[in-house]
């Protein structure tokens, strides 16, 4: 009886719930726009199509931006880089955080102390401030932004992973492997991590939205991609002076960022719910009886 890997099973269940389906469709739409946008954009991102903040017309469906470039073309072009950076930063942050958190939980003792105190230090900086600090010192380079966001995620992921791994590490099946003298790294890989799948999937979803917001925020503050490139965060910054004259230059990128965040969060929520019902039997009757007992006495 082959069984689907847990990740697939949970995702499958999540998609079948209304909440999961809606979230996936919303997030998917934004990804679609960002992915095929560059191919279907009517103009180049740097072409001057119309007057600055010109109203929407048949030539420029969403009007012109601060320099008279086509807002639609810039919107279609400005997403993929942002999404790709967010995805890489998230992957990096979750992997590093999970490894640190699980190692802290499994090895315990001074490993735990060192890792978790380091985590506390990084957590003392607000995420955006931490990224700003790195970027302002070393300059706005794409790899640095990705790295800065990843580093700012890792501690939070580490805390969640540690808490979940602490529970798993105490289970008898882990002890059974330890007694055989199997090295810790192998036990972590084969026995601990597979039981953290659901927890980490939820973390990936959460971190992805944060990555998006932080990277867009950095762009907005001028520390992300530099002009003349089109990036949603940068677009909002450039076009905010003309918000009253021609709102689409600000609204379109803002709406897409918001939709993506809402979609991913909704889907993540349904993943979290779906993961509760996978891989285990119904809850032990004890918990239910304890409630009954309290009610009765």
């Amino acid at each position: 009886m082959a069984r689907r890997p847990e990740a697939i099973a949970v995702l499958g269940r999540a998609v079948r719930t209304p909440r999961g389906a809606v979230g996936l469709v919303i997030a998917g739409l934004v990804i679609l726009v960002a992915a095929i946008g560059p191919a279907v954009a009517p103009y180049s991102t740097t072409e001057f199509v119309t007057a600055p903040f010109a109203r929407a017309s048949s030539a420029a469906w969403l009007g012109g931006d601060v320099l008279g470039r086509d807002v639609l073309s810039r919107t279609l072009n400005g997403g993929w880089e942002l999404l790709a950076m967010a995805a890489v930063a998230t992957a990096l942050g979750v992997v590093v955080g999970a490894v640190l958190g699980v190692a802290a939980a499994y090895y315990g003792r001074w490993w735990d102390s060192i890792i978790m105190r380091a985590v506390d230090v990084i957590l003392a900086f607000p995420q955006l401030v931490f990224a700003l600090l790195l970027v302002s010192i070393l300059g706005p380079k794409i790899w640095l932004i990705v790295l800065a966001v990843a580093i700012s995620h890792a501690p939070q992921v580490a805390r969640v992973a540690r808490a979940a791994a602490l529970d798993i590490s105490e289970r008898d099946f882990v002890k059974a492997m330890q007694i055989l003298g199997i090295p810790g790294r192998r036990i972590i890989r084969k026995d601990v991590l597979p039981n953290l799948t659901s927890v980490l999937m939820v973390e990936i979803g959460l971190r992805l939205t944060y990555s998006m917001l932080v990277i867009a925020g950095l762009s907005f503050l001028g520390f992300g991609l530099q002009p003349p490139s089109a990036s949603w965060g940068l677009m909002i910054n450039e076009n905010r002076v003309g918000l009253i004259a021609e709102p689409w230059g600000v609204l379109m990128p803002a709406i897409l960022i918001a939709l993506f965040t809402i979609g991913v969060n909704t889907f993540t929520d349904s993943v979290a719910r779906a993961s509760l019902g996978v891989g285990g039997r119904a809850t032990e009757p004890d918990a239910e009886l304890a409630l009954v007992a309290r009610e009765v006495t």
């Binding site: 009886m1 082959a2 069984r3 847990e6 289970r171 008898d172 099946f173 002890k175 059974a176 492997m177 330890q178 007694i179 055989l180 003298g181 199997i182 084969k190 026995d191 597979p194 039981n195 799948t197 891989g279 285990g280 039997r281 009757p285 004890d286 239910e288 009886l289 304890a290 009954v292 007992a293 309290r294 009610e295 009765v296 006495t297």
Partner: protein, 617 residues
């Protein structure tokens, strides 16, 4: 039954019973359950299925009815119905629960609320989870009195009746500061506080050691007698029920299959299932072969036609398949069983047990020698100067109550616990304390089976992968050879080879424990350390696992270190026994000698407190 021990204050002055609450003398039973039926309502996926059906019994004031059944038999569902409750997802499908003639299933939720606590009280399995951890015990008890209008002065009296002679410090404590026995007594005091008419006890002594269990049982019995309270005592433990119950009802697959006076039922079981259960219970008096029952109970909605027990029954005949058997009265005192061959089965009793003399293996060089082992947790000693030998091919039991340090000792032997002093010698070589210092050979030769089969198997791996883990670690065998050895290991623990492709959540508790055994045995160990391996299992499953273990031990010449709190089980499984109390060896020697002629007062008390089927009635 056993005489109540003298330190239990059973006597409560009769004048405290209000005249109106004196037992009804007209013979109306305190509790009458009539044709109770509880169902899982029909849904899109499946038709309606009954969880409990055709359950009828009565309990007289002052009497205790033992409701016996294995996990999944529906005993807790029945117990909750006595309080007018059903678990989520279930519904009352019919029948009546009459308390003093009033049907509580017909009451509104508001009326039920008033009824609970005052008319019907409930004592849960785990008192710790029923007490609010952030409120002092006194606050909680006074609250119960306040809600139900009892007068607060009686508080101390109720506490004393529940065996808490000095209530002051207990009332001022938080629940976690009390021992399990004290918590259970507080729960009993709460339950008896408002002089209920009926009290429902759901395995209240599970998790207590035998001495505390004995005292709690005596308390319950005394209180029921004194106040003419009817009690329903739910348990999977036949021996405990034999100690406390006047009458016993046996549930199987949601049906009441046998009912009768405890003394009659336990001396002459009339249903094959009851007989099977009894043969699976180990006894203190003699070592007998424990006989498990093949198969497992049918799930609701999946019952076979005719008698539910037929597929597992050694007495089954063609007629059993045709219709559900009606109750057959086997005595004129109300002993009845739902079996067409009840009269034949009842005649068989007395020959039910096969005596077994464990051939004592010749004395050999010990495989494992533990000498002077001590362990402390933050300056608190857990084990003090423990000495113990395990002879080659011998089975040695370590017996102790919870907190005695017996599990810590097992963890020292297998290397999970590193911070111990003393020496442990295995195969002539001194064992390094932790797993890391030990050689591959030492690691392979000492294998461990953990208590809880629900947490000892990785839920994300197939059974084949789980059993293959130690194999691939210790020897680099080719895949085909590995699969063959996994298959052999499964066969040796009486599982089909096809189990290799399954996941743990598709297996029952007994099957899981067999897999855990297979994982330990697949690398041909010399010493098997078993930590309470049957305590999470039903008695019929326990019997099968124990017999399997003994057969494997004989076949493979294994040495066993068997850790348990179950003294009768020791009689069936071990050659030598070591009794541990508070981290120290209290007594050790051959099983026959220690269990029949214990020298230490602690051991004597322990043995005296063990409940047994022999004490029924």
């Amino acid at each position: 039954m056993a005489a109540p021990s003298e330190n239990i204050p059973v006597a409560a002055p009769a004048e405290h019973i209000p005249a109106a609450k004196r037992p009804a003398e007209d013979g109306t039973p305190r509790l009458a359950v009539e044709n109770l039926r509880i169902v899982m309502p029909a849904s899109r996926r499946r038709p309606e299925a009954d969880v409990v059906d055709q359950v009828s019994f009565t309990v007289q004031p002052g009497h205790v009815l033992g409701l016996v059944g294995e996990s999944g038999s529906g005993k807790t569902t029945v117990a909750l119905a006595l309080l007018g409750l059903v678990k989520r997802g279930l519904a009352i499908g019919g029948g009546k629960v009459l308390i003093d003639g009033r049907d509580i299933l017909a009451l509104s939720e508001h009326e039920l609320q008033k009824l609970r606590g005052r008319t019907v009280a409930y004592v849960p399995q785990d008192p710790g989870s029923a007490l609010n951890p952030v409120l002092k015990v006194g606050t909680q008890l006074r609250e119960v009195f306040a809600i139900h209008g009892g007068d607060a002065e009686r508080l101390t009296q109720v506490m004393a009746e529940a065996g808490l002679e000095d209530p002051g410090p207990i009332l001022a404590s938080y629940p976690h500061q009390l021992s399990g026995g004290q918590q259970q007594r507080v729960a009993l005091a709460m339950a008896f506080a408002c002089r209920p008419r009926l009290i429902v006890l759901d395995e209240p002594t599970t998790g207590l050691d035998v001495t505390t269990q004995r005292r709690v049982l005596d308390t319950v019995r005394g209180l029921c007698r004194t106040y003419q309270v009817a009690a329903v005592y739910i348990s999977h433990d036949l021996a405990v029920v034999a100690e406390i119950a006047d009458h016993v009802a046996v549930l199987y697959s949601g049906r009441l299959i046998e009912i009768g006076a405890a003394s009659e039922l336990f001396s002459h079981p009339a249903h094959p299932y009851t007989r099977g259960l009894m043969r699976a219970v180990p006894s203190m008096e003699s070592s007998h072969e424990l006989l498990g029952m093949a198969g497992s109970p049918p799930r609701p909605g999946n019952r076979p036609a005719g008698c539910s027990f037929r597929p597992r029954c050694e007495f089954a005949v063609a007629e059993c398949e045709l219709r559900e058997p009606a109750a057959v009265a086997v005595s004129d005192t109300g002993h009845a069983a739902k079996c067409v061959r009840a009269l034949e089965v009842i005649a068989l009793s007395g020959t039910a047990l096969l005596a077994r003399d464990r051939a004592v293996p010749p004395a050999a060089e010990p495989v494992l020698t533990i000498s002077g082992v001590s362990v402390s947790y933050t300056n608190k000693p857990v084990l003090r100067d423990v000495n113990l030998d395990v002879g080659a091919k011998k089975s040695v039991a370590i017996v102790g109550m919870s907190g005695s340090g017996k599990t810590t000792l097992a963890r020292c032997v297998v290397g999970l616990h590193r911070d111990w002093t003393g020496t442990i010698t295995f195969d002539g070589a001194q064992l390094p304390p932790g797993v890391r210092g030990r050689t591959q050979d030492q690691l392979r030769k000492i294998q461990f089976v953990a208590q809880n089969p629900y947490s000892s198997l990785n839920p994300r791996q197939t059974i084949g992968q789980i059993i293959g883990n130690p194999l691939t670690h210790f020897s680099k065998v080719p895949a085909r050879e590995r699969d063959k050895r996994i298959g052999d290991a499964l066969t040796s623990v009486a599982l089909r080879e096809s189990f290799a492709a399954r996941y743990p959540d598709e297996l029952s508790g007994g099957e899981r424990q067999r897999v855990a055994l297979a994982r330990a045995l697949v690398v041909d160990p010399e010493l098997l350390v078993c930590d309470e391996i049957t305590s999470a299992l039903d008695v019929s499953v326990q019997a099968a696992i124990v017999e399997l273990l003994l057969r494997l031990q004989a076949e493979r010449g294994l040495s066993l270190l068997f850790i348990t709190h179950n003294l009768p089980l020791v009689r069936s499984i071990a050659d030598d026994v070591t009794v541990i109390s508070a981290g120290q060896v209290c007594e050790r020697g051959p099983v026959t000698q220690v269990l029949t002629a214990p020298q230490q007062p602690y051991t004597q008390q322990l043995i005296a407190d063990v409940p047994g089927l022999e004490h029924a009635g």
